[in-house]
Symmetry: C2
Subunit: 252 residues, 2 copies
Amino acid sequence: MSGQERVVRYPASVEHADAPSPVLLVCEHASNVIPADWGTLGLAGGLLTSHIAWDPGALGLARALAQRLDATLAHAPVSRLVYDCNRPPDAAGAMTTRSEMHDVPGNTGLTAAEKLRRVTAVYLPFHDTLHGVIADRLARGRPAVIVTVHSFTPTWFGVPRLVELGVIHDTDARLAHAVVAAAEGCGLNVQLNAPYSASDDVTHTLKLQALPYGLANVMLEVRNDLIATQAGEAAMADRLAPIITRAVAQFP
Amino acid sequence: MSGQERVVRYPASVEHADAPSPVLLVCEHASNVIPADWGTLGLAGGLLTSHIAWDPGALGLARALAQRLDATLAHAPVSRLVYDCNRPPDAAGAMTTRSEMHDVPGNTGLTAAEKLRRVTAVYLPFHDTLHGVIADRLARGRPAVIVTVHSFTPTWFGVPRLVELGVIHDTDARLAHAVVAAAEGCGLNVQLNAPYSASDDVTHTLKLQALPYGLANVMLEVRNDLIATQAGEAAMADRLAPIITRAVAQFP
């Protein structure tokens, strides 16, 4: 594609912008939509609905949490296969050529111009929108606590994962520890920094949107078999909403 | 002013966008321009050209450095009295009501709507532009090293300051230490984290633009009596350019 053409931009979708909760829910892997310009990236249909294209259930869970917490939700409208908004532009995973055991043909051998087009179309508009939402709160003197919502696949390279709720932090671990404490006795297998941790480069949004402002923040990872249906999403939200509320109550 | 009116946006001015140096120079306090909408903020003319409105000499020095290093320069086109781009929206100093010993009448009792207008007009466009410049480099696989350029007044509340070059860091001190080492024997009074340090909340740009990407970064503060003329700016740039080059050479 020519560098001259006008790039369509895909900002974050923001729901309940004026909701009163201090919590700002963020869902970077909400969508498996690949805009027409990028075709199917060479992938078969089944893969385009699998966890390599998005975090199945994460948007449904995030919306159910937004409702229960009366919180703002920002989510990315484009598949992470086009650009993973939770990765910086120089990360291998930003426009990945391979996810779990699957090659992504449409991401192989990308030119600098095509990488820039995706950065301009997806990454920058997503994070610019999020910066705007956060700056708006700070300017109004309203608190902001960043909670990112993800899901992970129950098996990874054939190995089952026992963790059900992963609670992940970057250099500011306050809210993560508060969530783990608040989750005690909730009946889920809760683990800190599992199945991923900051060393896997999964905390870019926290680094970019929360740490510069000193905002309490955490990344939640829910095993996607537990939120595979709308009823599952609702049940998980019923479980997590009071945990988040208790944990967040410790922050001004 | 009504929240309905269209807000004029003032993005960072970017010079030498395609320059080859890894160094990206940033000058948040480059300008003492107050757009007509904000009048004089109630200040007498003399104050509008003093250090409370901008960092005198910083833009001239940054431009002279950009030329010598063959580096990109991004600078803010609006006075920090309207919005200080090196402060987050909830900082008292973002739209300060008092600078050194002077009240800023036009910043007293700002409504949330007026704060938001300034955030939207000045803060967000500046940092969105900078994010774009950095993302562009990272997507191209080019290195980026962030050097912010400031000046400070030789006396503060009547007390003379002896430091001539301040080298300031946030949590990543690598480049600051490299600059101090490279400056040895340069003939200037060089001090680490003086006359300000991160605890004075002066490292917002470093937190927002460099730390999330793991980019080497430093804030330079030059005493403004040394760069009060174009000749002074040129002489200081002649001195600093090789120091920066030597320090930056240690980073991939």
